[in-house]
């Protein structure tokens, strides 16, 4: 791993921390008391721009930095206490999402915008699938939730967030395609600076 990789990954981790707390910069992004986060967008971008391996490493480092006490998670949460929060699955799912998005774009020989959009949505699907199941099993196994707490209720709660994330995922795909030319360096495939 070269120093440029170390720096870009560290930069993306810091970017995740800012994206998680974007409402501190843009207060209007709080909807009905729920602060929106840009985390899925950055996770998808990390995979699409840095590639599968470095994208996954970015998210692993992000998770560990947060667990070690830096306030990088949404609403400036931090520390190992995050492990017992039911939403921890979403943090873990970013690792998978970034890897999958990166892998799809690496495999495609001539990625077009459509490729980026498909890859991003598959990444988002992993994000929601793992995250929501984690929430469900955290309540059922961890906190002995009674029978009234059903699988359907969890998905119902995720629905409003899904609408916002569909918007952001399209945005992520568009940005991911433009970014390599904006920063004038290819990250994946022919002419990539380092691996």
């Amino acid at each position: 791993m070269k120093s440029i990789d170390i720096m870009t990954i560290a930069m993306f981790v810091a970017m995740m921390a800012v994206a998680a707390n974007i409402t501190a910069i843009f207060p209007f992004l709080v909807f009905a008391g729920i602060p929106l986060t840009f985390q899925p967008l950055i996770a998808i971008l990390a995979g699409a721009v840095l590639g599968s391996r470095r994208g996954a490493v970015t998210m692993v480092v992000y998770t560990i930095v947060g667990l070690l006490g830096a306030p990088v998670f949404a609403q400036f949460h931090a520390g190992p206490a995050m492990l017992v929060r039911p939403t921890f699955g979403f943090i873990l799912s970013f690792i998978v999402a970034a890897y999958v998005v990166g892998k799809i774009i690496e495999k495609s020989h001539n990625p077009q915008l459509f490729t980026y959009i498909i890859a991003s949505f598959i990444g988002l699907a992993f994000n929601y699938f793992i995250g929501t199941h984690w929430v469900y099993f955290a309540y059922v196994l961890g906190f002995n939730a009674p029978d009234q707490f059903t699988y359907g209720i969890v998905w119902l709660g995720m629905l409003p967030l899904l609408i916002k994330d569909i918007f952001f995922t399209i945005a992520a795909a568009v940005i991911a395609q433009k970014l390599p030319e904006s920063v004038k360096r290819p990250f994946i495939g022919k002419g990539a600076v380092s691996h």
């Binding site: 791993m1 070269k2 120093s3 440029i4 990789d5 170390i6 720096m7 870009t8 990954i9 560290a10 930069m11 981790v13 810091a14 970017m15 921390a17 800012v18 501190a24 910069i25 843009f26 209007f28 490493v57 692993v60 480092v61 992000y62 560990i64 930095v65 070690l68 006490g69 830096a70 306030p71 990088v72 609403q75 400036f76 949460h77 931090a78 520390g79 190992p80 206490a81 492990l83 017992v84 929060r85 039911p86 906190f143 002995n144 939730a145 009674p146 029978d147 009234q148 707490f149 918007f167 945005a171 568009v174 940005i175 433009k178 970014l179 904006s182 920063v183 360096r185």
Partner: protein, 266 residues
């Protein structure tokens, strides 16, 4: 306001827990995270509570720091308590409220689960309150090192952690600056429909990325110019030391586990 965010939660006081090696604290926390789930009836929960109180007293960290750590999960604890209080139908009826009957079993279950979550959070915050982030990353690097043969870059990951923590305030400052620059050019982030707001957001995200990559490249060049060549053969300024007290700490935690396993109701 953004610049005032405290990175890390370390409280610099002297205590037996502060003096421990970060590795022994990491092992202990990992073990305790499992041990907490052993408690399942009155006496084992009491033993768990006593252990937590003992550790908190040993840390000599002011109590308000623990309260601050508990605050984010407070809603979760209250929610699970109410969930159990209202929906568990065991034991005898204590009283009825809003058409719900509150059973003694429900209250008991609720209190137990609240203790379980609470002690997990307190034990976890003990680690970050008594250990410097830099020691934690060093300890983490130590445990990651065996996985190096599977392609896990242990040293690089520890380095990335330290750099990214340092980069967060820089990036927040940068974001603030770009937002003001775009506002000066007429971008309005607070008005318009959701669609126009998202479009304005692109005028914020693209410059942020371009500048960040520029910065990353500058710093990488600086590292290369100073001859950085990775973890192989690199020495450390401060070396972690495993002492007798670390072995004792691990044995104590193991003892707690044995006691809880014995008290546990099978």
């Amino acid at each position: 306001m953004l610049q005032n965010i405290v990175i890390g939660q370390y409280v610099p006081v002297t205590s037996p827990l502060h003096r421990l090696d970060s590795r022994s604290k990491l092992i202990s926390l990992l073990a305790l995270a499992v041990i907490v789930f052993l408690a399942n009836e009155f006496w084992s929960y009491l033993a768990l509570l006593a252990t937590v109180v003992l550790f908190v007293a040993l840390s000599r960290v002011p109590l308000r720091f623990f309260v601050k750590g508990l605050f984010p999960v407070f809603i979760l604890i209250v929610f699970t308590f109410l969930l159990h209080a209202f929906f568990t139908n065991e034991g005898y009826v204590l009283f009825s409220i809003l058409g719900f009957s509150i059973y003694s079993g429900g209250i008991e279950q609720g209190v137990f689960i609240a203790i379980r979550i609470g002690s997990l959070v307190i034990l976890a915050s003990l680690l970050t309150l008594t250990t410097k982030p830099i020691d934690l990353t060093d300890g983490f690097e130590f445990f990651l090192r065996p996985f190096k043969r599977f392609g896990l870059p242990a040293h690089e990951m520890a380095l990335m952690m330290s750099i990214s923590i340092r980069l967060i305030p820089t990036l927040l400052l940068e974001a603030d600056r770009i937002m003001k620059a775009q506002a000066a050019r007429g971008a309005d982030f607070t008005k318009g429909t959701m669609k126009t707001r998202l479009e304005t957001m692109t005028a914020f995200i693209i410059p942020l990325f371009v500048r960040s990559f520029k910065r990353a490249e500058d710093m990488a060049t600086a590292m290369d110019a100073r001859g950085y060549r990775g973890g192989e053969g690199r020495t450390k300024l401060r070396v972690l030391q495993w002492r007798l007290q670390d072995t004792i700490a691990c044995i104590v935690v193991g003892g707690v586990g044995v006691v809880l396993a014995i008290l546990r109701d099978f």
